[in-house]
Symmetry: none
Subunit: 185 residues, 2 copies
DNA sequence: GCGCACCGTTCACCGGTGCGAAACAACGGC
DNA sequence: GCCGTTGTTTCGCACCGGTGAACGGTGCGC
């Protein structure tokens, strides 16, 4: 999987389909461009919107990159959906959004990365636990406490971790105002 | 869903490339949608505009038609931004519509899925009960109560569950700018 | 016209549980 | 030593699912 977890550089997100259907929905809700990697013998889905394209795997690397390039070109030309100065997270444990930023300790950094990676979608507790502690999770409540602490740290950035009971957590950003700024990404 | 390749084909023209490059240029000048059929080992060209797409041949017939369909869909929706795109429900118990969403508990999630799958049509109480409790419904009142709760949860999304007496329930969405439901309230 | 059965809505309540949050202890870096 | 991070324990709340009951509208039989 080509992961560019910092959604700063890449505009196009690769999504395996139908395996990662929920992710597709989330990206659509966030109005982010996505390229569906269709498993062989999977019928082509109906298009959600113009920010989507698909490719049948296996595919040549060059063709895949060309597909991403074309989609990115379309997105850039269509409208300013490349949008809103979304939050980013770097390798130094800093979460930035606009002029604001906050530093995160290691565990919360990994949790925040997992949530940001799938912003707008539900991340299961299992997935979060695995992201936060790759070598095995400690106690059962450790995750609860770290989510609580991460909540408080992200609150000043107007980022909210929503609880989806018995399902997981969902990260969102309060956008009081949508800037119609031209996409110069 | 009917795709009717003849109809779509009226908008999308297939062009072998680079063999028919002149034709590509002409279609571009005429602002007509075109699908490039790339010979193997031909590098992907740079996109001319948004009315273009490409596919590497040989390609499965179904994939080719899907490609045409997608391109036609894009062309159709280019001017009128397909913005609203009705509500969706994902595997994580989330119902989304536009920027809004709500999380549903398991039972209501199953009910909502049954209603959304047949949105605009009447879903019988039996079908709903079977969808909500595949292993057999509990009491008689359980369905009523869960429909009530689902109503209240979906209300913020401007989604309404209409009662069709002695027939079942019908889900509709209030569109802010145009009236789509002919139901009497 | 009257009463009644049927159907659907809504509320109150209860047992179970997932999660929130505080308090506390252990560990480590500056 | 001080402070920040990490993990555990503990308590309590809010939510979820289900039941019973009260309420109201509609149609039918008498």
């Amino acid at each position: 999987m080509v992961d560019d977890p910092t959604n700063s550089g890449a505009e196009v997100t690769l999504v395996r389909w139908p395996a990662q259907d929920a992710r597709r929905t989330a990206l659509r809700a966030a109005r982010r461009a996505r390229l569906l990697l269709l498993d062989p013998s999977t019928p082509v889905p109906t298009p959600d919107d113009d920010l989507e394209d698909w490719v049948r795997i296996p595919v040549a690397e060059a063709d895949l990159r060309a597909r991403v390039r074309w989609l990115a070109h379309r997105v850039a030309g269509c409208d300013a959906t490349g949008d809103d100065t979304g939050p980013t997270i770097d390798e130094d444990g800093l979460v930035r959004i606009g002029p604001d930023w906050v530093a995160l300790p290691p565990v919360e950094h990994r949790l925040a990365r997992a949530l940001l990676d799938r912003m707008g979608a539900v991340v299961s507790r299992d997935a979060l636990a695995h992201a936060g502690w790759p070598d095995g999770a400690p106690g059962r409540n450790a995750l609860d406490v770290h989510v609580l602490r991460l909540r408080r740290r992200l609150a000043p950035l107007r980022m909210t971790i929503h609880t989806v009971r018995s399902r997981g957590y969902l990260l969102s950003v309060e956008t009081h105002d949508r800037t119609a700024d031209g996409a110069t990404t």
